[in-house]
Symmetry: C2
Subunit: 297 residues, 2 copies
């Protein structure tokens, strides 16, 4: 199994996911932007907007290669002269505040010195945290993890909690999920093929995991106050992505394709000075859930 | 003239500015949040929302002191054990897309080793760039500069162009203005008193400068397409502040008061994937003006 096969599989996963999301949405279709990278490789950024379910979303595939830049050496501490990187990255912003925002990413990286690793994860950002739905989401992830390695969920769930934390708000971005990086045969019990199978299953399970979450909320009535709250939570999503997310920051500072990197940003977001949720409100309950890490399973 | 006098003057400038902006707005009034900083000092954050003119705005005063933290040593390269910092910071987001966003900041910093400096600036972010208005704005700033030092405008105008640039968009945040930092008697022809007089005049001229700009646009009709564009431009403002603005980043990472730091963020902002302005449209003209630095005077 070589890098071309991994890239081909990720590219086909992108297609499969877009098809599945179009069915789930029932109205909007993806538009494709194919782009090339001057230094080598390119990608296909698929985006969707103004659907029944999805107000804005992106499913991006890329496979890029080239010399290891100074920025990469400095920020990523890479040893090697040339790199190859491929992955699929998704962020979906639903219209209905009772449907969560979701993010998924699977990626593969290799250097010309023979080192490689897999990274990725899935995490959920409900505008309103509903514990039973959070549990369901984590159960799905745990089931996938357990099929591949009995230790993965226990390791990768807290990894997500740590990664998706917004320090300046002392809040979690959402209810977490799983996150992993730099996995290889050297630091897991799995072979390269087995790690790839794990990443592939995560990606191929994405639509059914999100469909389950979306269908629980998409028909719920939307009041003005729900939209106000949704827009404020989207503001937090922006704060996390622009201030903390390593991938976003690295992409922007290393001259990546801005529109593909920032496809993660929401439609209509809002910032209100010192917003205070009312005692006992659904908004306050959500803030309480986001104030610490929970064992949802 | 000591640090207490500077802080007292800045505090009184905050009051004067808020009074002036309330008159200009004609409807909304500022609410005050007084806060203390655990390590020493505190501030008063005044915010306004849902006015006739101003949809959201903040005028913040702070005077803080304490030991020089590791973060300050590392990020700011400070030599000294204790610091004192005071300033006034303003960001206003008007409702009408034909009125520009404005930012002003004057600040004073000193260390216990005897070094001090002044910093600050004013810059304008029109949603739609109107060259005559941009010229007027720069003329006002140049007139203030020229009263204090004939070299200031020529130095501080390009400094703003450089600072308020969004590299990942290859766009200027707006039409610039003036920006300066680390000014003292050691690197200017002015004494400490004279530099303070310059900063004070900038701040005390703020309301009349903004009133002039606001009154040129506030009665213009607002179409749906103007709001869409305004929200996209506000998105860029968020990108600049969260990804690039040194003050914002330093504040968030050093444990500053989040709500005061992020009072600069707009109400309703929007991100649309790969938005393309129509050829010949007002939006396209604005993008052309933002694509390079202009000599507005």
């Amino acid at each position: 199994m070589n890098k071309e096969q991994i890239a081909a599989q990720y590219k086909s996963l992108q297609e499969q996911i877009c098809k599945g999301l179009e069915e789930l949405d029932g109205k909007a279709v993806f538009r494709s932007d194919v782009w090339e990278r001057e230094e080598g490789g390119g990608g296909r950024t698929n985006t969707i907007a103004n659907g029944n379910l999805l107000e804005k979303g992106g499913v991006a595939f890329s496979a890029v290669h080239g010399p290891v830049s100074e920025a990469m050496k400095k920020q990523l501490g890479l040893e090697g002269n040339a790199f190859f990187a491929t992955g699929v990255s998704i962020v979906l912003h639903p219209f209905n505040p009772h449907v969560p925002i979701i993010h998924m990413n699977v990626r593969y990286f290799e250097l010309d010195n023979g080192t490689y690793w897999f990274g990725g994860g899935i995490d959920l950002t409900p505008h309103y945290v509903v514990p039973a739905q959070a549990t369901l989401f984590h159960q799905r992830l745990k089931a996938i993890c357990d099929k591949h390695d009995a230790t993965f969920y226990a390791k990768q769930k807290p990894w997500a909690d740590t990664y998706f934390h917004i320090p300046h708000r002392n809040e979690s971005r959402g209810i977490g999920g799983i996150f992993f990086d730099h996995l290889s045969e050297n630091n897991t019990d799995l072979s390269k093929e087995q790690l790839f199978a794990y990443c592939s299953e995560l990606a191929s399970s994405f639509v059914s995991i999100y469909a389950e979450q979306a269908n629980l909320g998409r028909e719920l009535p939307v009041l003005e106050e729900h939209l106000v709250w949704r827009n404020l939570r989207r503001g937090r999503y922006v704060e996390f992505n622009l201030v903390h997310d390593r991938g976003t920051k690295f992409g922007l500072f290393s001259g990546g394709r801005t529109e593909s990197i920032l496809m993660s940003l929401p439609p209509l977001a809002n910032w209100e000075y010192d917003y205070q949720a009312k005692e006992g409100s659904e908004e306050m309950k959500t803030l309480e859930y986001l104030g610490k890490d929970w064992d949802w399973v």
